[in-house]
Symmetry: C2
Subunit: 384 residues, 2 copies
């Protein structure tokens, strides 16, 4: 038998920038980044896909964006800024995905040009996927506008859309060219989005950084009340921990079954789907963290007081810690619990669930004791 | 301005195996590969997508495949082997793409399981793309069954489908888990596929390996007549040069504009599209190589005798070296020549065309002199 071995590495590198009023003509952060990529030989193109909700809250934004890019040397903005809705619904809309692909074609966005998504995590997931599959991958820049996307998905390497009711069934790993986090967008979030977005910080603190959890705990009431300085720290540290994990844990494209950043997510994904996305992602993850923290306590890993601290932080953020779909329904298994196999399938390989050995230290298990799980659900119910 | 830097490498590694009668129970090549990936904790799944033309020429194949995988420890074959047509047509069929995605879902193919494509390059492009976008990428194994796919696309890292008449507009870079080249499949190819597939070897020899070109030249009549030993060497060396270029030239996912393996391809892609794929890919590339070789001669790069050698090799393979669509049409530019901009856009960045400095040495230019190009077309026409 003859044999040829292929072996190569691909480097992925991008910056996550924090800067206020990105499209203010005096703010050179984005312009400087782009101009560092300019080429004398040809003009690169830019296509902006903007969240309609953001545009409504910032009525000057479209015009600001157009004017801003006029000044950037070596780049040309497409004649249209495409406005689409925000929220999870856009991830259920394949014709919308293809309309973005069509726009990439129509406006001549090639592999050296950039698609720029401005919006929440769902919009960025959709835009990232459209960019990833067009011309075998055109570059994309993310400008996340929510707490959730600035501290988590927006700084990561994934994209995706839902397919036939399965969350993120279609998608890819396609790191962005750059991410720009602008806190000004957070000022117009509604309270639900502001609060629920913090839960990914609670998650990553619990599995990786006890000191960060202590700080979130101390700040939890102020954060919930809208303290911007506290929120800025929360987002920065959360983004940093996500970036470090993705780049530093040896499996950025998740070829293994280990997925510590999915702590609290196995039940969350199913709850979102079963509630038809009436639960926000962050709310569903709050419930998932609560259940898996109590389960960790019942396993004898987490102390009762630490378990209570976690529930208190989530409740201080006015986030849910329980949902009726977690219970058995007329003697039948909870439909959320029944989704464990679907979660395993999406991750692939062996069932792998992150739990808490202690605050700041995640640990994985490969099976869940269902009696213990229903007991954890009961404790969450009684601790709402 | 605060800033977080992300930076990581992803390793991609796969073998290209050459082995006859892959699905003979006595052939352990594929089984050994799979069993090296088995896990005690769970059974991995396999889904085979088979080219209907191959199935028709090898009526026992479906049954052979089923039986073969029954013996492989740690793996379970999906209850259905999916048979789809071969040929470029499948790349124009988005519903077919989604039917494969549906099968990946239905049969529980997760990120640790494998989709196995058995067929020509078009089928493998389609299957690879379906695998790449499902669950953010499930593993795929390629078993190319044509000369063209065994020596070129099947051993590479790309996939793709056509979209709104644009070749490979949708696709991604997703290296296979492994490639298995079985020469037995070549024995049932029709003459046109047998001959036209050789042109990618002519291409890569011309830009990289003069000794290989000399050997192809010496063998060209025998190859065309069906000499299997000569064909085996041609495929092996061509695959090796492609693998080495992809892994060794520093840009496996084509982030730059340099694309030497696309020698002869700018006009070929357009010719395929304009003839509604009545021209085979290899035939179109034969024409493309002829035109760009003559153009290289007219630039003063290639000697007249080397230019003639190239045309003679292509003609010995009974491949076309000219097409009427290359000429001006009623005083209007040739629609192929008008496709230069489309080619630039697909590659992105600056127009970059590979030409021949000499036999065995490609060199890139960033513009084409259209008068010279039409002169090259004329010489090709007169040398058919």
């Amino acid at each position: 038998m003859e044999y040829i071995q292929q072996n190569f590495n691909v480097n992925f590198s991008y910056g996550v920038f924090f800067s206020s009023n990105l499209f203010d003509p005096a703010n050179t952060c984005l312009a400087t980044f782009l101009e560092s990529k300019a080429e004398d030989a040809y003009v690169k193109k830019l296509l902006v896909i903007l969240d309609g909700g953001v545009a409504a809250h910032h009525p000057q934004l479209t015009q600001q964006i157009s004017r801003y890019f006029e000044q950037v040397r070596g780049f040309q903005l497409a004649p249209e800024i495409i406005t689409i809705p925000g929220g999870e619904g856009v991830k259920n809309d394949l014709p919308l995905l293809f309309s973005l692909v069509d726009a990439i074609d129509k406006y001549g966005i090639d592999r050296h040009s950039y698609v720029i998504g401005v919006g929440g995590g769902s919009l960025l997931d959709l835009v990232g996927f459209a960019a990833a599959i067009s011309h075998r991958g055109v570059k994309h820049i993310r400008i996340p506008t929510t707490v959730l996307s600035q501290n988590d998905s927006g700084v990561g390497v994934k994209n995706g859309v839902n397919y036939k009711g399965k969350k993120n069934f279609l998608g890819s790993f396609a790191p962005p060219a750059a991410v720009f986090n602008d806190p000004v967008f957070l000022t117009t979030l509604d309270s639900r989005d502001w609060r629920s977005g913090m839960v990914e910080a609670v998650k990553v603190a619990l599995i990786k950084d006890a000191a960060f959890f202590n700080r979130i705990e101390a700040d939890s009431v102020a954060l919930t009340a809208g303290d911007m300085a506290a929120m800025h720290y929360l987002i920065y540290r959360c983004a940093e921990l996500h970036v470090q994990h993705i780049g530093g844990a040896g499996d950025p494209f998740e070829s293994g079954s280990s997925r510590p950043l999915d702590f609290g997510h196995w039940s969350a994904h199913k709850l979102e789907q079963l509630t038809n996305f009436e639960l926000r992602h962050g709310e569903a993850v709050s419930i998932g963290i609560a259940v898996d923290s109590v389960y960790s306590y019942l396993l004898g890993w987490l102390s009762e007081s630490d378990m209570q601290r976690i529930l208190t932080v989530l409740k201080n953020m006015q986030l849910p810690v329980w949902h009726p779909l977690l219970e058995k329904q007329n003697g039948q298994p909870s439909p959320v619990v029944a989704g464990l196999e679907e979660f395993r399938e999406h991750l692939g390989g062996r069932l792998t669930i992150s739990l808490l050995r202690e605050v700041g230290k995640g640990e994985e298990v490969h099976e869940m004791d269902l009696d213990l799980l229903y007991k954890a659900v009961e404790i969450c119910k009684n601790n709402q």
